[in-house]
Amino acid sequence: MKLTKDLVAASAAPLILAILGDGESYGYAIIQRVRDLSAGRIEWTDGMLYPVLHRLEAQGLVTSRWRESAETGRRRKYYALRREGRAAMAEQKEQWSVVHQALSTAWGAA
């Protein structure tokens, strides 16, 4: 099963916020994490991830900095949630719960 483009786009920001909610991370690791979380059913490309990350940064929800990775020694851009990002994550969680609950109830009744 493949998710529709619209659904992938809509869920991108909440997923990124949720992953960064566990601690700072970088682009490649975020894509891996999304793959794991969805058991391989959500496959993001860089072309999709980085623009969303940069937009979240422009909105002041996440912050970033270049740092050398301890394992590889290569420089990586790490992203982390700002306080505003944490608030946005809570808000997203609430909204998606409403949708989830409504759909569950509707499908349960059908």
């Binding site: 601690g23 490309t45 072309g47 623009p51 929800l61 290569r74 990586r76 851009k77 700002r82």
Partner: protein, 221 residues
């Protein structure tokens, strides 16, 4: 023979020819990703050449990347922040002009001129940070606030407070030096000196708090 570094170089070159070229940071980020992916695939037993092809495909074509990145807009500039920075620049120019002309006329020595300049600009920056904070409170009350503005506010407050802190340190130090030559002592706890020290400490506290906020956001120790 498959030369990974050469491929990376050519690939980055082809990307920089697109509209991504004016964002070297993005190219570095994408490069890191390709390296990570190739490493993972090769570790999994894939031949380097095939790993390379798969990694580049996963990142997306030049056109795709350029199209997606074109949708990202930089945060709109915050007018109040710009005005605040401009105001400090204006004070610096005016003070420089007044102090400079006195220096040339021989009414100020170099030490006193530098002291007056640093202290005036430092105090102006400190007062302007205060004004910016007051404006922020009004904006928030009026509901015209958001995460992007908060970021712009932090950035402007940081720049102004850093200017305030550095110039107060310079000004106080030069003042003490001047006092040694003219009053026979470095420090005498008079009103001006205590005032300078208070401003210095205040800017230090603000800079420290802003720095701490950023460090916390990044989960750094």
């Amino acid at each position: 023979m498959f030369d990974f570094e050469e491929r990376i170089g050519l690939w980055k070159q082809s990307l920089s020819a697109s509209s991504l070229g004016d964002r070297p940071e993005v190219l570095d980020e994408l490069e890191g990703h390709v390296r990570d992916e190739v490493e993972r695939l090769v570790r999994g037993g894939e031949a380097p050449e095939r790993a390379w092809a798969a990694a580049v495909e996963r990142v997306g074509s030049r056109e795709q990347l350029a199209r997606e990145f074109a949708k990202v807009h930089e945060a709109p500039a915050w007018l109040a922040g710009r005005v605040a920075l401009l105001a400090v620049a204006v004070v610096a120019v005016l003070t420089g002009w007044v102090v400079g002309s006195r220096l040339i006329a021989g009414r100020f020595g170099a030490l006193l001129a530098l002291h007056v300049f640093s202290i005036t600009v430092a105090y102006a920056a400190t007062v302007i940070v205060g004004a910016l904070c007051a404006w922020t409170v009004v904006s928030r009350a009026a509901g015209r606030w958001g995460a992007a503005r908060a970021t712009a506010f932090r950035s402007a407050a940081w720049k102004l407070s850093a200017i305030g802190l550095v110039l107060t340190i310079v000004g106080v130090a030069l003042g003490a030096w001047w006092a040694r030559d003219h009053l026979g002592r470095y420090w005498g706890w008079d009103g001006k000196e205590v005032g300078g020290l208070c401003v210095l400490l205040w800017n230090g506290v603000i800079c420290g708090a802003l720095h701490r906020g950023r460090t916390r956001a990044l989960n750094l120790r």
